[in-house]
Symmetry: C2
Subunit: 523 residues, 2 copies
Amino acid sequence: MTIDGSILIGARAVRCSATFHAVNPATGEALPQAYCEATAEDVAQACALAEAAIPLFAALEPERRAQFLEAVADAIVAIGDDLITTAMAETGLPRARLENERGRTTGQLRMFASELRKGEWLDVTIDPALPERAPPRADLRRMNVALGPVAVFGASNFPLAFSVAGGDTASALAAGCPVVVKGHPAHPGTGELVARAVLAAAAACGLPDGTFSFLPGTSNDLGAALVADPRIKAAGFTGSRSGGLALVAVAAARSEPIPVFAEMSSINPVVLLPQALASRAEALGTGFAGSLMLGAGQFCTNPGVVIAIDGPGLDRFVASAAEAMAAAEPPVMLTPGIHANYAAGVAALDANPAAHALAHGQTTSAPTRCTAALFETTAAAFLADRALGHEVFGAASLVVRCADMAEVAQVVAGLEGQLSATIHMDDADSAGAAALLPMLQAKAGRVLANGWPTGVEVCPAMVHGGPFPATSDARTTSVGTLAMARFLRPVCYQDIADALLPPALQATNPWQLPRTIEGEREA
Amino acid sequence: MTIDGSILIGARAVRCSATFHAVNPATGEALPQAYCEATAEDVAQACALAEAAIPLFAALEPERRAQFLEAVADAIVAIGDDLITTAMAETGLPRARLENERGRTTGQLRMFASELRKGEWLDVTIDPALPERAPPRADLRRMNVALGPVAVFGASNFPLAFSVAGGDTASALAAGCPVVVKGHPAHPGTGELVARAVLAAAAACGLPDGTFSFLPGTSNDLGAALVADPRIKAAGFTGSRSGGLALVAVAAARSEPIPVFAEMSSINPVVLLPQALASRAEALGTGFAGSLMLGAGQFCTNPGVVIAIDGPGLDRFVASAAEAMAAAEPPVMLTPGIHANYAAGVAALDANPAAHALAHGQTTSAPTRCTAALFETTAAAFLADRALGHEVFGAASLVVRCADMAEVAQVVAGLEGQLSATIHMDDADSAGAAALLPMLQAKAGRVLANGWPTGVEVCPAMVHGGPFPATSDARTTSVGTLAMARFLRPVCYQDIADALLPPALQATNPWQLPRTIEGEREA
């Protein structure tokens, strides 16, 4: 597959006047290929095509959409090593990580294909007519239908798994929603390769033109125009709090407001309980530092705050973490902009009299490197200064030293919404854990014990979501099978003749779907 | 039970300085009982109590909450005829309708009790640990949890079924969310009776104080303060578009935005296909007039627009509808304010050169009576003037005369989102219906054939929702078992020791819930 920097509006590759270049973050130098800046007119054309694709694409038999998702996965694999080397140059991420992420991306696509075949997502629910009842009851049949064309914003930190054919795209396509992707400008070549793979799969599967479009570009206005387009009915976004809130505001200001599923900001609190600290502070420190520095800390689930009772156990934890941080080579961050924001966030903590620096990772004169940073503060200071609880995207974290469990609970109660909340405990900590777990559950979409929040399994039980500002809609997840639900809405059909019903609701159940009849699951 | 006009903050009846009176719409006279105007301080106290109730109430075994909902239903029945006579005086609604609505209200409460016992609402989903896998998979368990305290706004047009213990309250309580009701000022006595019944049931069931509070009052500021309170995590509203959008704006402006489930505005299009008109225009006209005038047209699902091809069949339909409209006594509307708005809406249509009056119901000098009104316009005029597609709350409707089926489709395509969309068809209309049904589905939460949109069954398959402006969130319904989903969010528990897990997720499945294990339903 060849990269030529085009805008891909359905099957049509569109050229342009204005272009931009990606930057190799490891060198700070611009890469040679020029990429088109998509315009408002490109947005309008892609959205018109997406709207036109809806009747056919949304009504497809689930098996057909499953085959499409599998074809996308196959086409991504078929790109071969070009995909990995392109992504390495554009993101600074190492080969092993990107190969792993490619596996996750194709795995997600295949998981939604499997979900489509299972059919639970349609939630077919039938209450047959009761003509003898007074008053008679009509025949009522409910199923989920596609919400409409979806705008997807590629994420900087997952150039494959949360970008052009990532989780948002896969779940929206599975739901029957055509997708218009605004590619992340940091990895336009990676994006174009994947977009061409999606389009090749769509063509091979005979899908309507407009099922998928790809708009590269660097401007915020492009994203705003996409969310503002009246044909778009929902948006999926992973990124910064300010970026997510800007899109939420655009969506709310439309004459027809739409949902924006923005996964934005989380500091993923880690609570270390006393017995766990007493028995294994050093191992916890090493494990923590590994999670903190993984991928240069550029994960939504990076552990940005550690909450524990002050004392020798916590000191041992900090010493062990500091040692691990000093031993690691500073990795390349995704973009010079992310690196600059990270450096500014660390500098702000350094300058904050309420925060005290505990440890720094190695420094280097090479560009865009992430020097890990660990700070400490008191519970009172943390509760008094909201800024201490804001995400610093990268390998920075803050230890909150508490006087006792009551203060631990106060700090937890003062947290904003989170993607994850972690507790480290030994058996002897059970009483404390039992008191804290409901509080952590109230703050987070995922609660975990004796592990680290980085590493999000893609499976039915996963929740990668949580109360604001972790996401803009706590009732959803952007990872796992439940992610499809974001792009569906229920419709009830009343007394519609069987031949005119969608196949999913017809009496003979031609798609052999699981169904609920009169409130009971069919055997 | 005695009415004394108190604010009911949990178990505490609070007195006040400022009061208001309800008006008997049939006479236009104020009723004698004075009711408290709840204040911002009452809001804060009720919300603090609701937040304090969450840990206990949300964690209750579903059987306990089911018993509570049944106790509420029993307590409402136990009020006896006082409830009916109070509601008659405050709303002008006839006895039979209110007795019916009481049955619907208690039926809804019992339905959610049954749902609680079935347990599907928890959506228990378990992916057990895979320690041998590389990398190992953690033990992951997902369930739904209560979103938090919910604000419910009583609706004017359902003083029982969508008010203090109506569908929003029942579904929120079922989900484990404490509820703070802002009572509708048109029926404060009805509201207080029901609120006292809810509180008596809560006390009898030993529920935490603050599970339920009732705030009577007339000001919009009261409602805004309730939605703005940081402890409130969602709101349910049924009412006008302007009222709903005002609350949505308050919710969006919070430092932690929350969802407002507002059911707002719908004109419920009715399409009459040619053969149906040819074969039974008169019966359709009579049936339409009955649906239009039912409850003085004060239903969210009132048929506000009729779309059909012009011709003798449509003329016969109009003549038949006009005859039925002329024969009916003009009923009392719910409030003088609603009557004034209705009269203004009809006057605006009378004054609109694009609309032509076809028929009016009887007029009378008695106050607050609804004179039904039927207008006509052309497809071109309807498409050109957005105002013609706005809801006039009451028994007013507009016939859109189309040249052919292409124009019918254009008019349908030009509609805003709707709660319902109706098609009348004979067998010979099947081709036309097949073409229109996907378009109607794209616009509405419920699509029905050969019936009338008024009359919303409360059952698992029902959807009382739809794209904006029918509701503020097309992914939800406010009627039927699915209404509970509005007030739940998923949480994933990772590697939490069995004894520390919520009972719903424990290995022995002590609540005997339906579960999905490794993506498959347990037998």
